[in-house]
Symmetry: C3
Subunit: 320 residues, 3 copies
């Protein structure tokens, strides 16, 4: 691992969204993640890189896999970690976000990994506090580390993504993943299409230069990669975005027989948790073309890379 | 502490239940636990043995003492630890157990300590995943580390358990401890009897070669050790297994005057948490014959031993 | 940092309350905290002082900032940490406090940091267990580390507190901070006044040698420091201690124009979380005279000092 002195630097000291990264930033993160992926596949998975860093994980919305992935990334970099979740917090006592975060920073915390339901929350903090901020999801807006690990995983298999066809299937409307994916893939030169029922595709998608399709088979024929998003069953119960799960699975669920009809293999991806039998069938999820578990593995490496690169851009007051 | 190379090996790479251990396995665990008990009684209670290991504690049912005991065992072996509890999990989002666990393993986790309400859950995982699995309780079926620490604690006081009389008192039906205790004690050559009200003793007990008694004083006279199980007050409120707590205490509660009437001292054990005045009185719980707190201390040593011995049987892909 | 051998000692092996500390104890804690404050402002914020110590944080009432502050203090001293919160505990199963704590101590825990709603809980434990006990709040009685960090923060700005005028504003009745503050400031020679609506000031306050005022402006003119307590909105909803928040803010809220009318600057303090616009306005909370965030920073240093000094007074059985 190159020392912080030798390393190239990111163009930003926060990871607020893919929107604010340039292509060189993304490629630097990928190069660094590749090195960390080697580390976590060694018997001794730990490096002392962030030994002198304290990271606060602030989850104002619940999360399992993203929180555990960040926590493992932090521990494998030897950082000290404090966890904070909104349920057990002063937030319910009417404290402002800035007061909560400033309090935690006053305890000499260097970096903040935050999931917050409000899209503006991370920008607001970045204007007011010293620590590096990593967006771990802001409502249905951006979830940049997920997009980075998705693109990194595609690139591992397909090589450079320039000109590649990537389709995002399913619930684009409620996804915290879709927008970051679109930004990231476009910056890497890929062509992006979204496909799902009209009720689950926001009106602004075409304005991003992304094609919209309502035809599953057509889109499968077009794409090199199918990134299949989760149908959020809990939302469907309240507001019916489609007639039934069965009908959704029939028209938009990806089945083995559909893949077998294609002339070429396509990669199957899913950010998890999977609803087996809804957005894809079990034989698709577990097939050779699925890289769903590689995505998870790469998530730890990508998060190690992001934290490591941002730590080189700490404000002077905190770095010495 | 012997290095992993010199160590004897367990006959199994998972601890799914006492049922799957042979006597040599149990004795190897005890020998190793004896060494770790010395470690945790030194001023510096930590060894670097599992420095390169990541352990996930997956608790799909709540637990205080078992979870803390495992966590301390893991930290004193210098393992990296991630905790997962069902309440904050993707489980509620309809994800399958295998998907949840595979996700966590893809983050390069070497061992899984799991409590799960379904008895088959650990076996199912063992067939499908690479990591070593430790059963930390599967409903009312097995809780092997509790049985190991119980037998280890008895043996510390009584020496070899061959031919010793061990009685298990109280709520056998809902206990996650009874079955593992029976298997473990029988493998070590002890004779086992259970004693409680008929409503709390499952019908299959005699088929295990275990005597059943409904007479407290008779059983106390017979036994060298009284392992007293907790009355689960919360279950009694729903379905009345006995007329009242007061009546339970009168017929099955262990009191000092009953012990004083015996011709020999007997050991008093309890897996906790105790209902003082129900299954035993305070003067019994706190008497010289009680080894309840030694059980807790031994729990950490036993769990260190189990994790250490299983870690020597990691799959090659994960150990290098 | 002086080694434990050279260090002066506290006169007590528990921190149950400021009531049980003498002035020399408080000054020793401050001297030690000053050294630890340097440590946490260095790039490498960690010392190995408590490398061989296991600390259990037992929170029987919820807490965010105090828990995180203790946890960071413990980690920066390199202690091993186990966390326990009542919600996920055996407490709900009817176990006694002593059984719960004895169980945890049997796992070879050296120190217990406990928040508990009952004022007598910490004393009770101190009589029955071996480990050092730190009171992290006992209902509305004492919260000694908060009082220490408050006085330490005042002294950093004002120098010796002898003869200084310290006013405590607001909800004295429900505060877990007021009593410890009064004891600590009096032991350091300061004069203390409390000011708030009569319904929120307990009758026994004058018997402590503390003046009571119901006049905000008068008290502001008198004091060098205004320690402003939080109005506990959740209590106000149940039992109306004052007509409305708006009326409270009008008569007892500290506003910038009130401070501007004073002839001298006064320090503004608050234990958090702040209700901006209720007990003080935002421009006051964020003004140059506010040392609210310094309090938080000093909290980690004070807690490191307390844990470090108590660890030198461990019982022989645990220290070797």
């Amino acid at each position: 691992m190159a020392s912080a002195e030798d390393a190239q630097h990111l163009s930003t000291r926060h990871l607020l969204g893919i929107k604010y990264l340039n292509e060189a930033d993304i490629r630097l993160i990928f190069d660094t993640a590749r090195e960390f992926k080697e580390v976590i596949n060694r018997p001794i998975k730990k490096v002392p890189s962030l030994r002198d860093i304290t990271i606060a994980n602030l989850f104002f919305e619940s999360s399992t896999r993203t929180r555990i992935s960040f926590e493992l990334a932090e521990k494998r970099l030897s950082a000290d970690v404090v966890n904070f979740s909104a349920s057990s917090s002063s937030v319910s006592k009417g404290e402002t976000l800035l007061d909560t975060v400033n309090n935690i920073l006053s305890m000499k915390v260097d970096m903040v990994v935050m999931r917050h339901p409000a899209p503006g929350a991370h920008h607001f903090l970045a204007r007011h506090i010293q620590a590096n901020i990593v967006n771990a999801g802001d409502g249905t807006h951006e979830h940049p580390t997920q997009a980075l690990l998705d693109a990194f995983s595609m690139q591992e298999v397909l090589g450079d993504l320039r000109g590649k066809h990537i389709a995002i299937f399913g619930d684009i409307l409620h996804s915290r993943v879709a927008l970051s994916n679109i930004f990231c893939l476009q910056k890497l030169g890929a062509k992006v299409k979204v496909c799902g029922p009209p009720t689950l595709i926001p009106k602004y998608i075409p304005s991003l230069g992304v094609e919209v399709s309502y035809d599953l088979q057509d889109t499968l024929r077009w794409c090199d990669v199918a990134n299949v998003l989760r149908i959020q069953l809990e939302r469907q119960e309240e507001l019916r975005y489609f007639p039934s799960l069965r009908e959704y699975a029939r028209f938009f669920g990806i089945r083995k027989d559909l893949l077998d009809q294609l002339e070429k293999p396509i990669l199957i991806m899913h950010p998890g948790p999977i609803n087996r039998g809804v957005e894809l069938t079990s034989d698709v999820a577990d097939s050779d073309h699925s890289i769903i578990l590689q995505q998870v593995e790469n998530g730890v490496a990508i998060r190690m890379a992001v934290l490591y690169l941002l730590s080189a851009l700490r404000p002077p007051s905190s770095s010495g």
